[in-house]
Subunit: 317 residues, 3 copies
């Protein structure tokens, strides 16, 4: 693996999921692979799970880790070409990416969507900037439109918990107080729909995600109908795709409730976390045995570890 | 040791102090104990000594360390049960604590008192939240009402510097520009009063701490009288206990001066640091040979190290 | 080496440059030297290259690293003697420096110029405070008036890229939107002028740096004249030295352009980074084969590593 930007960087999803599950059983078995190798973790946005699980994965592989929180620790970056840099931005991505590449063997980056324009977010300015100018492999720790470490985690979790050879997997939009990026949902669609499953996207009109449209995913605007016989219900809020970046849907009835979970096939509840309790989903669901959000978060370590392992192996060869 | 929340987690104070002093002589002698073990350090408040000494202790034991500064690096946490989370807080302690437990083998937490209500502070919302939901041992790096790593440090320091088999130990209130938490003083009382000593609390009326009242500590409102023949004078400011969280006493005469130290039995001056020079204590005292504040701060490493060591040993067994 | 504060701490520049270049060829050859040694990195200001390269250097030597960003993670420090500390500052440098010395084997510090008064900046309050009270070696990661890790880096880079036994080296002032410290330029002068070279400082009147005046460096106010036949052009902006701390010169014609670089002897372009593109220097220069700013930044690691190596060797003996 030469980089880990999105689903396109995974050549065989089944194999990588199997390898992640093997790593989970013996997390320290490759702890010499990262000797004298440094992971640079660059945060343009807050992070809890991604920060800790990716760092843990690197440690498990014997890597050293250096963390930069760009907003507080370093300089603001300019991404546009040809700019006269006489305003707030101190350093150009051209220099930053090339320079950091000389201190780190792998660079992992978190840079959220701005939700100001679809074109801008899908251009993936920050991630693409690093990809273009860095001379070492890049790992996406959630970009404007994709969160492939989460997507891989989710697939690992479905494989681990599925009792059905072809489970029904429902991604449902959920209410929120503010508009959120499409990254997690896009990646969930891109990854989970590659598994042998019946995949359904349930969302209000105008919230049909590009990833779902691209993959011709079944879309249902009736959430209860979508939940019927589901083996997995994955809840997530995201901003409108038509009135891009806005939160036009305010109907609280999209909340995932225990009653709705009763329509499923003893379905497991999933969420990438952090989750707004009693906004996105009822306490009763999260605190039930059907919720696997904690186990799902645990798999973040092994998703990151299999990705770093494959990149390290590629560096060596 | 299964956790380190307060004095109740120490079954034999003498033994742990002796062990800490032994570690101080050979700090790297257990540097394999922490192999493949991660300490997660969570800061909800600033920290210098605690941050560095606890990290150093973990390093000495061969652990890896991951640090999160919650205010800048991560999400704000909700601690109340049953809340509809449609305001500023993004993640519930239920998820956060369970998730972090999967990435770390021990979680250390700093979360200061808010000083808004006694009931609230003594409920120890943050620390108790983590204790309740985490699945790994918790270490208190100063909570709303206790600072047991400091309390242990102070006891180690008294043991190390005492020439008297039963020293007179005075904890004195001192002036400050703002109201401060009770945590350090409570823990000093709880720890030091367990040592064979004459323990005296000297403070203005209304500042008698709960820990002192619970332990029937001798309380003197006349500071000079309290200082007579003292072997150790520990200075600290804290907010009123009656008019909880307020700083009602503004008399600068409570400052520890060289003149007052002259009343002691060549008494050693102690303070947890940071200390406001010429507010809490005169330069002349801090810069004299009687001050052991620097040596005291050094013992923070060995207090943290003996605690982490015992927790690691318990993990293994 | 007992400390690394400025050029005076280097007894033989040629030898240390040679050693750095040897380290560059085998960066892990001394990876046991730092066993059980901790580098404490204290940042009072933002940092990208210095942060990562110094940390990388420490890792290459097998050290552990602890980082504190003073503004966000810790307490504000008081540096003045005898102050009554009843205002915003919580801790005195006397305690902070002594305490940190007990947790770290080497302390590295970044503390920029305030540019409020020349006397104040040249007093180097923060760095001198640590130097005075710390009991372990101090490394300067850019202070108010010197950036000796950068100066050493620059010399290494000139040695590495010079085809001429006695190259012409030009340090040129460049335009900027705000006044900047003298630290980088002072250190470049102090280091590079020690190499066998023709050194020329090119700057507007009033911008003649103290380091240049002290060393009787050739000063030219005509930039184009200065560039003639140069082997290296080092661009940097800095505040006036006469009207100290102000940016009185706003002439954009001081920008380094491809046309001006055409006057040189196929000169290499250098800059410490971050650089404001099309303000300090044209894109065309930075993106040309004549620019070695990225290679220069790479040498930051080896400059830091040779310094840390020598200090560690001195600790051992």
């Amino acid at each position: 693996m030469k980089k880990y930007i999105n689903i396109n960087d995974v050549d065989n999803l089944d194999l990588i999921v199997q390898e992640a599950l093997a790593i989970k059983k013996a997390p320290f078995s490759n702890n010499k692979l990262g000797t004298n190798k440094v992971l640079g973790m660059l945060f343009f946005n807050p992070s809890l799970r991604t920060r800790l699980s990716t760092q843990k994965a690197a440690i498990n592989l014997g890597m050293d880790v250096m963390v930069i929180n760009f907003k507080s620790d370093s300089w603001t970056l300019e991404f546009a070409d040809g700019t006269i840099m006489n305003a707030g931005k101190s350093e150009h991505i051209k220099e930053a990416a090339q320079v950091i590449s000389q201190y780190c063997d792998i660079i992992a980056i978190r840079a959220f969507a701005l939700l100001e324009s679809k074109e801008q977010d899908y251009a993936e300015e920050v991630l693409s900037g690093f990809e273009k100018y860095a001379s070492v492999p890049i790992v996406n720790m959630e970009s404007a439109t994709a969160h492939p470490l989460q997507g891989l985690t989710d697939t690992i979790t479905i494989k681990e918990y599925s009792k059905n050879p072809k489970p029904k997997v429902v991604l449902t939009w959920a209410p929120h107080l503010k508009p959120l990026p499409h990254a997690v949902s896009n990646s969930f669609i891109n990854y989970a729909s590659e598994v042998d499953c019946d995949f359904v996207l349930s969302c209000p009109e105008g919230y049909e995600l590009d990833a779902a449209l691209d993959r011709s995913i079944t879309i249902m605007h009736n959430q209860e109908k979508a939940f019927e016989d589901a083996d997995f219900v994955y809840a997530k809020s995201w901003a409108s795709n038509i009135d891009y970046g806005k939160l036009t849907e305010t109907d609280k009835d999209w909340q995932v409730t225990a009653k709705k979970m009763g329509l499923t096939n003893n379905g497991k509840f999933m969420h990438c976390l952090p989750v707004r309790r009693n906004v996105v989903v009822e306490d009763e669901v999260l605190d039930s045995e059907h919720s696997i959000v904690i186990q799902q978060a645990n798999n973040r370590t092994y998703a990151a570890q299999v990705v770093l392992k494959r990149i390290l192996e590629n560096l060596e060869s």
